[in-house]
């Protein structure tokens, strides 16, 4: 594992020199800016692991008569370094497209450089609404609440839910949970009977629960993270409120069931990646990841794995005319890409991803996939 990684890095670093030496063997180079040091390094490590896996498989497959390299550059997701690395990648004429960065702000700051220089950029995690609006060169492989909210609304409507109470954390993300869901749910003919926002840090939901129970909702939709969610589910059980709970994908975390105990039973939630999925390609990915890197892949690793594969797919389609412009155009044509985070389609206009979100329910203390 270490050898592969080092070889890759060396290959990346030596590329400008190697280009002349092995002119007959064409190489295609990608840049990947990610936090390999600093407070977010655990994410960068996962991205790189997944990228190496995807790259090895692609180069072995021989889909194009050339080797693809990835130059990994550490940015600490720091705005100064992110912009400098973006300049560095733009200067390197061999680099045809870039993956990353991790945080939205680093991705946006680097994105301004890529927009100006005409370099396709695909981030696996930047969920800021403005990120894809920078220029036609920005793509992302993460769904936002603008996608998840309507998905849950349709799901509820299909389950016969007419009246919903919404409880969400009071921050920018929570605001987007409420607005995106409420608009879509009203469009299905349903009614949002109560909306309650709670301040971050507050885990006392009894007053909120009593209040919304009075509105007799058919279901409760909660936008929060698993720590708050566990407290909410427990208190709901203590107050014996029977309305089923639907949650945001942010609550997909084994700790939720651990903390909420029987209170979590029956909760519905959607997710783009499920490590326990019975699907063959997800299983293969999880097993190889565990074997090579001795750790469990999570949603972030999967997100990066798919992002790199989507990029490689675009390069394969663009071959032999692999230019920055062509790769951008091919990325925009990504349709029903079968990844480990579901089938992904990029909207050619907004460059927002659409994914088939998997539906889950907590049953017998386990996340269980619901077959459609």
């Amino acid at each position: 594992m270490t050898t592969t990684r080092r070889t890759l890095l060396l290959a990346g670093a030596a590329l400008p020199l190697a280009g002349a030496a092995v002119a007959q063997q064409r190489t295609v180079t990608l840049g990947y800016q990610l936090p390999l040091t600093g407070e977010f390094s655990q994410y960068g490590e996962r991205f790189r692991n997944s990228a190496i896996m995807a790259l090895d498989a692609f180069n072995r497959s021989g889909r194009i008569p050339a080797q693809v390299n990835i130059v990994f550059e550490d940015t600490r997701s720091d705005p100064r370094e992110a912009v400098a690395v973006a300049r560095k990648f733009v200067d390197n004429r061999d680099i045809v497209a870039v993956l990353g960065d991790f945080s939205s702000s680093a991705a946006i700051q680097a994105g301004r450089v890529y927009a100006e220089a005409g370099m396709p950029q695909l981030s696996q995690t930047a969920s800021h609404p403005d990120y894809v609006k920078i220029s036609p060169w920005q793509f992302r492989n993460i769904t936002t609440q603008a996608y998840e909210g309507p998905h849950v609304a349709r799901w509820m409507a299909a389950n016969g839910v007419k009246r919903v109470a919404v409880v969400s954390i009071q921050n920018d993300w929570g605001q987007s949970v409420v607005s995106n869901f409420a608009d879509a749910f009203k469009a299905t003919g349903g009614e949002v009977v109560a909306t309650q926002m709670y301040n971050p840090g507050n885990r006392e939901f009894r007053a909120v629960l009593t209040d919304i129970a009075r509105q007799r909702p058919d279901a409760i939709y909660i936008g929060m993270f698993y720590e708050d969610g566990a407290a909410f589910l427990q208190q709901r059980r203590q107050l014996n409120i029977r309305a089923p709970v639907y949650g945001t994908s942010s609550m997909y975390e084994p700790k939720l069931i651990e903390l909420a105990g029987p209170g979590a039973e029956g909760m519905y939630l959607s997710t783009s990646f499920m490590a326990e999925s019975p699907e063959a390609h997800v299983k293969a990915y999880v097993e190889e990841y565990k074997r090579r890197f001795n750790s469990e892949p999570n949603m972030f690793s999967a997100q990066a794995f798919d992002a790199v594969n989507i990029m490689l797919e675009a390069i394969a389609r663009a071959w032999p005319d692999v230019t920055r412009q062509r790769v951008r155009d091919e990325l925009a044509r990504t349709k029903d890409f079968p990844g480990v985070t579901g089938a992904t389609t990029f909207d050619p206009e907004t460059r927002e991803p659409a994914k088939t979100l998997a539906r889950m329910r907590i049953q017998d203390g386990k996340f269980t996939l619901i077959q459609n």
Binding site: L9, A13, L36, T37, G38, S41, E73, D74, R76, P79, R80, E81, V83, A84, R87, K88, V90, D91, S103, S105, I108, Q109, R112, V113, A117, H128, P129, D130, I134, N171, D172
Partner: protein
């Protein structure tokens, strides 16, 4: 004014050499390399030189340990971002206005805290810095909160396009040079000596008739003004600001630049800024351990050169010898 006579009388060769290096040699080299990466590094180094210079004035010369400098810098960046995106003002207005807002904020913050000394002042500025950060983060209707402000226009003063790398570099270099002259004049003068007296023993300085509180407020205001200018330059050259960019860790970075470069030394601030920004980039080839190596270099610097790479004493004698700052040899007037 006597100071004017001095500069008329002789052209300091060092100033000419430095000017030639910053305005001719570096841009020429960077243009030949034709690398946006090196230009970007040069621009960021210049912006942080302004920050380190302003920090030098507060911490190195006046001896006030400020831990909230990044927040003041952030206020400058946000002022430029808001003025240019909402009101459409050009950089010729946003840059000085950012300085003014930060400077006025500096005065407002200095008034209640100036009677605090040493560690108490440091903790007070730490708290103020956090308050500013939390305000930038939570005042969503005004600062757009955690989403940050994007689409800040690049440098196009009076319709002249300075958004290219060379033009941006030169524009930032001119402002940095002006900031360096301001800090130089504040440091290498009677005024600077008064600040040093306050640093060494404020009660003694008070007893000698210096208005200690007023001096501290003045120097804090000047430094905050410069930090605000640096913030505006950052906003215009980067195009997007986010509260996360102006957290406590940035204050510590600026402080480290000043300490590694040499407390109280004007060239030291610039050397420290260049070292701590360029070293991590130069060490990219060694991989993940690069940040560790930066730490080692900083540690060794402090261990073996506790006065900094270019300490105050050398900086003062350099200023006297080369720039003849406030020193009229023939009349025997000046500071020693």
């Amino acid at each position: 004014m006597r100071g004017a006579n001095v500069s008329d009388r002789r052209f300091p060769p060092l100033a000419i050499a430095l000017g030639a290096a910053i305005f001719v040699l570096v841009p020429l080299g960077l243009s030949l390399a034709d690398s946006g990466y090196f230009f970007r590094l040069a621009i960021v180094t210049l912006i942080f030189s302004i920050l380190a210079l302003s920090m030098q004035l507060i911490t190195g010369v006046a001896g006030l340990l400020s831990l909230g400098h990044a927040a003041i810098y952030g206020v400058g960046a946000y002022t430029a971002a808001i003025l240019s995106t909402r009101l459409g003002l050009g950089p010729l207005l946003t840059i000085p206005l950012s300085g003014l807002v930060s400077g006025l904020l500096g005065i407002a913050l200095a008034l209640p805290t100036m009677r605090l000394v040493s560690i108490y002042f440091a903790v007070a500025t730490l708290g103020l810095g956090e308050m500013i950060y939390v305000t930038l983060l939570n005042w969503v209707s005004f600062t757009e909160g955690p989403l940050g402000i994007g689409n800040i226009p690049p440098l196009r003063p009076l319709g002249i396009d300075l958004s290219g790398p060379l033009a941006t570099y030169l524009f930032v270099a001119v402002i940095t040079a002006i900031a360096a002259v301001i800090v130089h004049r504040c440091t290498h003068s009677y005024y600077g000596n008064a600040l040093r007296a306050v640093r060494e023993d404020d009660q003694c300085a008070d007893a000698m008739g210096l208005n200690v509180v007023r001096l501290k407020i003045e120097v804090f205001a000047i430094a905050c003004f410069l930090a605000g200018i640096a913030g505006a330059l950052w906003a215009h050259t980067t195009g997007y600001v986010n509260p996360g960019d102006f957290r406590f860790a940035e204050s510590i970075l600026i402080l480290a630049m000043v300490v590694v470069g040499g407390l109280g030394s004007v060239p030291g601030a610039i050397i420290g800024a260049a070292l701590l920004l360029l070293l991590p980039e130069a060490l990219r080839a060694v991989g993940e351990v690069r940040i560790l190596m930066v730490g080692v270099v900083m540690f060794l610097c402090i261990l073996f050169l506790p006065r900094g790479l270019f300490g105050e004493v050398s900086a003062l004698s350099l200023a006297r010898r080369q720039l003849g700052a406030a020193w009229q040899q023939d009349r025997g007037v000046g500071w020693r």
